[in-house]
Amino acid sequence: MSEVIRVESLVKKYGDVTAVDNINFSIEKGHCFGLLGPNGAGKTTTIEIMEGIIRPSKGAVLYYGKTVDESISQQIGIQFQHTALQDFLTVKETLNLFTSFYQKTVSHEKLIELCDLGEFLKRDNRLLSGGQRQRLLLALALINDPEIVFLDEPTTGLDPQARRNFWQLIKKIKRQGKTVILTTHYMDEAEKLCDDVVIMDHGKIIESGTPKALLSKHFTDVYIYLASEHVDKKMIDKHGWKVEGERIEVATKNVEKTLSFLIDNKVSLQGLHVQSANLDDLFLKLTGHMLRD
């Protein structure tokens, strides 16, 4: 695997506020890289410095070892977090407009099929639904057949079905060998899509690695949940199980052994639910606060 982007000692200050505080990471070719963190963590600032939209206060972003300059815009595709499309233009006209900006472009037929734009090609941009807009914005990000695609919170505000459709799209883009850089505050999204993640909070990187490696590094336990009303209180106190409202949490390193123990002790298995730790739990553990606080 070759390295596409390297971020070195990046700092961005707005007056007294340090939005990005000396961060370092690198991204491998063909990977989906996730920048995770709550609102205000510095994800968008970081990604916009990488795109060449804003200048860092200190540090550098290197593409294949070279400092980013204006020519990068021909090679990357960008989907911003908040972007209005020009009013009174149709989807097809918007594609034409953006096509004219680039030297090398993908055929509209391919884009329309990939991003599923066929149904609303002649519709005014103002009349698109949230999911349709995001698909058009993604098509615009892909119009110059970029090697690297930046997606800044692409599924924020979409309904669950539209989110899942969008995930399928990102997977298709990845299969084309493109490097995808994604910011999100949805941990399930990162787990589904990302090969590598960096978790940011208050402008700093607090952890990085593959989602699997991070979870196994920080969590050895699996959690078994039971309905508390069916479990003897003495049993709960004796084993120090945690009561969370109407359910109890049993942490274990060996699920089979613990389940046999529960059956042997005639503990009711009603409401049984087994769950491994996820990135949400990791974030809570690392920062002491929930992701979307």
Partner: protein, 334 residues
């Protein structure tokens, strides 16, 4: 400058303008309503005395110039006086030395004053001219069209750029290879095309209704119109070059446009105004646009005769454009 990118942005902006029916309608209807309204308000004669132009009035000894209810106005230049007679601004011209007089065949007042003159000076030779009366609506036309151009240029460029910047359309465009120069030039050219087209449509349409007075050439009128519109567009660009706030830019555009409405001679002539007011008026591009266009329409001036106004507009455009491009920001950082 990449022509393909530039033309694509011009086309997109033009489509946006022509599809925005409410704004398009307002751009067309507003000046027509103003002209119709003004022509009604100022349709009365409102003048009881006759006005007679006299060549070299101070040297005239005749008792005719003592006649009551006739104003006598001194003219040194016979040609200037003839234009005034043709425009119905005066009713007769008399040259006492050469013993002849001019009447305007199309003017009832001219006919009546001639009868009064012949009662005393029956031996004067009669010369005649024709001319359509210049009405207030003819005089105010360049003002109304100029004012409409001013609003369209200032708000059409200023507001749109700030809106694009605020809702991140500019940011999205910046992430493409499109350069600031290409984007800004496309906005200028698109608005210039829109403004000239709209003004031509309004002028032509209203001409059927009012049969406007026109002594000069339409080509010269087009040139001063282009120069004026360009300087107003660059002014709009300068006002909107950095801000992200529609409220702020709306305020700034109002501060820019209202003094021009009042002090650029749109509604009334600044001939008799104090020098300080005239000096303030001279710093506005609209003043030069309206004055130049009015001279072409009502006096038949040529481009060389209005070259002062043209040069001022060119210099203003250069300053506004240079400053606007230098200060232009795609996206004001947080």
């Amino acid at each position: 400058m990449n022509v393909k990118r530039f033309l694509a942005v011009v086309k997109a902006r033009n489509l946006e303008f022509f599809r925005d029916k409410s704004s398009l309608g307002w751009n067309l209807i507003f000046p027509i309503l103003m002209l119709v309204g003004l022509s009604f308000v100022f349709s009365g004669e409102g003048r009881s005395a006759y006005k007679v132009g006299v060549i070299d009035l101070p040297s005239v000894q005749s008792s005719f110039i003592e006649t009551r209810y006739i104003d006598f106005i001194d003219y040194k230049d016979q040609e200037k006086a003839k234009i005034k007679l043709e425009q119905h601004s005066i009713d007769l011209i008399i040259d006492f030395k050469k013993q002849y007089y001019w009447v305007n065949e199309g003017s009832p007042n001219s006919y009546l004053v001639e009868k009064i003159l012949l009662g005393q000076q029956a031996n004067f030779e009669r010369l005649q001219t024709h001319g359509k009366k210049i009405r207030y609506v003819d005089w105010v036309l360049p003002g109304i069209l100029g004012m409409n151009m001013m609003f369209s240029c200032l708000f059409g460029v200023g507001y749109v750029i700030v809106r694009y910047r605020k809702n991140s359309v500019l940011k999205r465009l910046k992430a493409t290879p499109l350069s600031a120069f290409e984007f800004v030039s496309a906005q200028l050219v698109s608005r210039l095309f829109i403004v000239m087209l709209m003004s031509s449509v309004v002028y032509t349409g209203c001409n059927f209704l009012f049969d406007f007075y026109m002594l000069g050439s339409y080509f010269d009128l087009l040139i001063i119109g282009l120069a004026g519109a360009f300087s107003l567009i660059t002014l709009g660009l300068l006002v909107a070059c950095r801000s992200k706030s529609e409220e702020l830019v709306g305020g700034l555009l109002n501060v820019t446009s209202w003094p021009m409405m009042i002090l650029s001679g749109v509604w009334f002539s600044l001939e008799g105004a104090p020098d300080a007011i005239k000096a303030i008026g001279d710093i506005f591009p609209l003043t030069h646009l309206v004055a130049g266009a009015r001279k072409i329409i009502t006096e038949g001036a040529t481009l060389s005769e209005i070259s002062y106004h043209l040069w001022v507009l060119v210099v203003m455009s250069a300053i506004f454009l240079a400053l606007g491009s230098y200060l232009f920001s795609w996206n004001t950082e947080r």
